[in-house]
């Protein structure tokens, strides 16, 4: 009997670091031992529980591995993504095109910004994850934390100090924009992680067949 597919995928994702194939192997071994003693249903429940527990434990391990370097890379990625948008908007300003606040009501500009942010976020997610092999997931989480720390004070300033009108619309545009960037950045990181898992799986298969 094979371990359930979804928790196995979760385990492979979180235990994919080059020095961590042992984690998935140990849980798989215990799964086969438990089937004999506890039966298939109880073992499947145990496997699900272990997949979630280990995902949390391995995330914590990844976050603690090189926190300073991960934060610096996340900060660099945040700057690069925001600079791309800022440079584009600045160029528009110099050419006397609508200012950033008009973005909300300017449909064409929104499409260009979406494309620009998509490209910048996915590329930076990919580059950042390549710089931190085995810590792609930690980078994605740290990026979110860095974004929240740097954006929330700015948002507060925009809404309450500048009293931008209408405040809710501006807040929704800023939060929506950052949520979009977050998800695309995560996509870039997860893609690198997925490629690494595939690479590692092919090495394991080659070793098995040998």
């Amino acid at each position: 009997m094979k371990p359930p597919a979804i928790p196995s995928a979760i385990l492979n994702f979180f235990a994919s670091q080059p020095d961590f194939p042992a984690v998935a192997g140990d849980i798989s071994e215990e799964f086969h031992q438990r089937i004999q003693s506890s039966g298939p249903q109880a073992t499947k429940r145990w496997y699900w529980r272990e997949a979630v527990r280990n995902a949390l434990a391995l995330t914590w391990r990844e976050l603690r591995r090189t926190p300073v370097r991960t934060t610096l890379v996340a900060f660099g990625c945040f700057l690069a993504v925001n600079l791309a948008t800022a440079l584009y908007l600045e160029t528009r300003y110099w050419f006397n095109l609508p200012n950033p606040i008009e973005i909300v009501s300017n449909q064409n500009l929104i499409y260009v910004l979406i494309l620009l942010n998509f490209t910048a976020s996915v590329v930076m997610g990919w580059i950042g994850a390549k710089l931190l092999p085995g810590r792609e997931w930690a980078l994605a989480l740290t990026y979110t934390l860095v974004t929240a720390c740097l954006t929330l004070p700015g948002l507060w300033y925009l809404m309450f100090a500048l009293e931008q009108d209408p405040p809710l619309r501006v807040a929704a545009a800023v939060i929506g924009g950052h949520a979009f960037r977050q998800s695309i950045f995560w996509l870039g990181c997860v893609l690198v992680r997925y490629v690494n898992i595939r690479k590692h799986s092919s090495i394991v298969s080659a070793a098995k067949s040998a």
Binding site: G25, R61, A207
Partner: protein
């Protein structure tokens, strides 16, 4: 005087378990020993996090075993306590013993509660 490197609670347990298991200390065996002897149900990922830290400190040494089919073709990772690790374990135990002197009565009261 050189300050001894004292181990944390979980590190201490891990080193003791590896010593007990001798050359057969790997994830599943370590987890089972922790559960049976210390009644501590720890996730495999947390065990490897602790082992990784001990390896960085030079207290344990690891090597890979052969891959098996029930492990999905993945190799076991075995651990052994180094001389440095044994020294840290001794220093920690000595410190605990010294701190426990004169507390036997109080410890008995605590344990009986």
């Amino acid at each position: 005087m050189k300050t001894p490197r004292l181990l944390g609670g979980f590190e201490n347990l891990l080193l003791l378990v590896i010593l007990r298991l001798d050359d057969s200390a790997y994830g599943v065996a370590i987890r089972k020993e922790l559960l049976d002897e210390a009644e501590k149900d720890v996730a495999i990922g947390a065990i490897y996090t602790g082992l990784d830290r001990l390896e960085q400190k030079g207290f344990v040494h690891s090597w890979s075993g052969d891959p098996t089919p029930e492990r999905g073709g993945r190799a076991k990772k075995f651990y052994r306590v180094t001389a440095q690790g044994k020294k840290a374990l001794q220093e920690t135990h000595r410190a605990v013993q010294r701190l426990s002197i004169g507390l036997e009565g109080r410890l008995t009261t605590c344990l009986s509660l």
